[in-house]
Symmetry: C2
Subunit: 511 residues, 2 copies
């Protein structure tokens, strides 16, 4: 009787709309280059025409191996105009790992910038399916493809469909074999909306991006910029000096960081001037990438830094839960409440809801959650239960429904039948004044099944010994949580997003 | 190969989510009553249980005849928890008009508050299909249904589906016969998002609602409150004194108005103190309901009132295009650019796009546009062309793509082959210092086909004659646009949303 409902939601292409609405508004600042939305759109369209020439179009899988720089950004938007699927590659992977991923995703094109050109051309020689496209940029920062004519003959898409796939992002691989997560336009859009409703939306917002753009935490900043019509301040590296300078000088209002970067930012800030503070323009320090160590949160609270803890993963298109600024002190250590479009439940191992306060596996549902993994129906099926996506992360909700993330389930140490959460032990070790970084993993043990083992990087020049640290830990931790050994090491293994790699830690245990 | 995409987007119920996230945050202030989101949720759930008892559930069509007061708000949210469809009735309609509409929409329940109880019970006696439910509220403002037990036996829905129908709103009927516009949850949600992205979203926003809640411009404020987690300041009447007091005393940040209300607000402000201004907390005066007279816009600009002109209609769930505050002076009189989810085109009578600057019919597309009219497939079909909804409004886009709304197509006067826009003539008359209100319509004419006729309400005590006004108009208008007659009348016919009723004007022409 009524008109049929449209099953697919179509929206104007976000960059096109941003450039129509605010052509002169700053879209992106990277080094000394400043591009307005109109300029970014122009660059995007030029590149899209070049990419179309060798046959990139709707559904083409295009891998991208490039630094956090303007060419990366232009490729992202150009592929969206062509309806092609972006496969961003982790620049830290080995040649063999990259080749495996390119084969796994069946990419037919590989774009790279000058920095990664040699690696990319070698990969293209190795994999005959792959066409190699070399990104170049001239002295005026114009981004193009080497040896490709600019033929504006095709019509670029001015809209996008929320059910379409925008990219395939391989999970950072802190556990298990990497798999390609399908990222839809809808996930990106609802994520940006949920974020804006939680963090507020101001027309003069400027979001600092120092996380890798090939991870979801970086890529989503580019999307929030064009959806919300706000500026991006892009950094190639998460160097604390450059970040602090941008916050103080460039009007940055929001920054996404992980704990280890935030720690280094504070250390750098301390160097310059005693008691230096960030300006009031910085209204949100979005802290993700794993449970935050309590000492860091307290250090920020003491300095009035507006830390907003967040929990998310590639499969939830970054931010899934966020602690509202007003709750930051009252709920220190919590990742807050789910974003507007997200539903969150804690289930036990039988997929039954647990009581408030009880730990279990965090499950998510909503339009920011991936429809599944690329060509891995069995893995997708295992990840979903009655429409709920199992994150594999352990956590609990307090009596007010605030999420506390404990650990990856795969990182959980079960010692003598007791659950031991590595993050809890790390937090205690990090509260010691001489400890710079800490990582804890489980080690097989004949008597207890598993026991916790800790690795610690000390502050420069420190002479603290592991015995002193063990004594310290014993003051704060139940007997079964105290590490069986604490090793002092020069470096703690992390992935390119700064996340601790606990699997790698286990390999460091002396046999 | 990939997992099937979900065809329907489900979200947590907005009020439930708001009450979970910010239980103590002010949800609504009405008179001396202040309800938090937790209190509003409690009221809603109590009423939902009562409504469920006589059988209101998924898909039930429930008409509501009530004043702009708390019972109206509670019914809206209670029906959403039951999945029932709200049919808000215009309280200004006659008994016969209401009966026609109740029959047309096939409502099975009619809720009314004490004020409209007599009308409603008469309608229920007249229409045997209809069950009458009388809304009561006690001294503590608790809202309930007379003689209905409170049985919390059923499970209330905690989520909603964006494709489902939330309400059926009869168009205000400035032209033609009323028809029921289907309003989906998706329209409301995307409308709130588009509005927040355009107007910014601040956690401490408070939106003043003085437009009738039975019109889309009022109802959407209730939705924006629960979606964005912000407060509503509800007024039963658009009385300028009460509105001005709320703006000055209650921290109102946004208000939705139509021109005639804004005019009265300024007049009232003038009475109190010479040069009185609104506080800086008022950051957005959203002005809709038809093309705004230029003199009013200039009067506001001179006082620093942040007027944001908007264009929308029931079928676009209110706001479709909005002039960004930064463009207000540069584009005076424009309705700005389409909201984030909306696409806008100007087509000629053959559904072909016209050039920039050329007038034509405004067409819209996107998730805020209705899927159609209730049980009127042929009307729905006529309104859509290749997925574009024809608004029936005339307008043009300037060289920067900014929308200028001219008039309803049905109000257009064609005189000697020339298009004459009533709003343009009204704007000139309103710029005369003695004119309070003006309305223009066409009258059949043997020589010119049609000629414009004007009606004017003068300021209290004014002795200006129509000859003087004619002379004045001649100074600003081309010969063919000058009204053939100007009648001075005590009242200009308007609908309950304050929109000018030009059809009614034509009836005032002396024969």
């Amino acid at each position: 009787m009524n008109a049929p409902m449209p099953l697919e939601t179509s929206l104007p292409n976000w960059l096109v709309r941003a450039a129509e609405n605010q052509p002169d508004h700053l879209a992106i600042q990277c080094g000394s280059t400043h591009w307005s939305f109109a300029e970014l759109l122009h660059q995007t369209e030029q590149l899209a025409y070049q990419l179309a020439t060798p046959g990139i179009g709707k559904g083409t899988r295009v891998a991208l191996l490039a630094a956090n720089d303007l060419p990366f950004v232009v490729v992202v938007h150009a592929l969206m105009r062509l309806g092609a699927i972006l496969v961003p590659l982790n620049v830290r992977l080995t040649q063999a790992e990259l080749a495996w991923q390119l084969e796994d995703v069946q990419a037919t094109f590989l774009c790279s910038d000058a920095r990664y050109g040699e690696t990319a051309s070698q990969l293209a020689r190795e994999l005959p399916r792959l066409t190699f496209l070399s990104l170049i940029s001239d002295a005026q920062q114009n981004v193009g493809i080497a040896d490709q004519p600019l033929v504006p003959a095709i019509a670029l898409s001015g809209s996008l469909n929320l059910n379409d796939i925008q990219s395939i992002m391989y999970t950072s691989g802190t556990t298990g074999h990497p798999k390609g997560v399908l990222i839809t336009y809808g996930m990106l859009c609802w994520g940006a909306i949920g974020s804006a409703l939680t963090l507020e939306h101001h027309a003069d917002d400027c979001w600092l991006a120092c996380l890798p753009l090939f991870h979801v935490g970086g890529l989503t900043i580019l999307m929030r910029s064009v959806i919300n019509g706000i500026s991006v301040n892009l950094h190639e590296k998460a160097a604390p000096e450059g970040i602090n300078r941008a916050i103080i000088e460039d009007g940055v209002t929001i920054i996404s960081v992980v704990a280890v970067i935030l720690q280094r930012m504070l250390d750098d800030l301390d160097k310059h001037e005693h008691g230096a503070r960030y300006p009031a323009t910085l209204r949100c320090v979005l802290l993700g990438g794993g449970p935050a160590p309590r000492p860091l949160l307290e250090r920020c609270a003491a300095r009035g830094i507006p830390v907003v803890q967040t929990y998310g993963l590639t499969e939830s298109c970054a931010q899934a839960a966020t602690l509202l600024p007003g709750d930051a002190l009252r709920k220190l250590g919590s990742a807050g409440r789910p974003l507007f479009p997200v539903q969150l439940r804690i289930f036990d191992e039988h997929q039954q809801p647990v009581a408030l306060g009880q730990p279990g596996v965090i499950h998510l549902q909503g339009p920011t959650i991936t429809p599944g993994y690329d060509h891995r129906p069995e893995v997708t099926e295992r990840a979903f239960h009655n429409g709920w996506f199992s994150t594999g992360d352990l956590g609990y909700l307090d009596e007010e429904g605030y999420l506390y993330v404990l650990d990856r389930r795969s990182d959980l140490i079960i010692s003598g039948g007791e659950n031991v959460y590595p993050a809890e032990i790390e937090s205690v070790l990090l509260s010691h004044s001489e400890v710079q970084e800490a990582g804890v993993c489980g080690s097989d043990d004949a008597r207890w099944g598993q026991v916790p083992i800790a690795f610690v990087r000390l502050r420069t020049g420190s002479t603290t010994g592991s015995d002193e640290l063990l004594t310290y830990a014993t003051r704060f931790l139940a007997r079964y949580k105290v590490p069986q050994a604490i090793y002092i090491v020069p470096e703690i293994p992390r992935n390119s997003a700064g996340k601790l790699l606990r699997r790698e830690l286990a390999r460091l245990i002396p046999r």
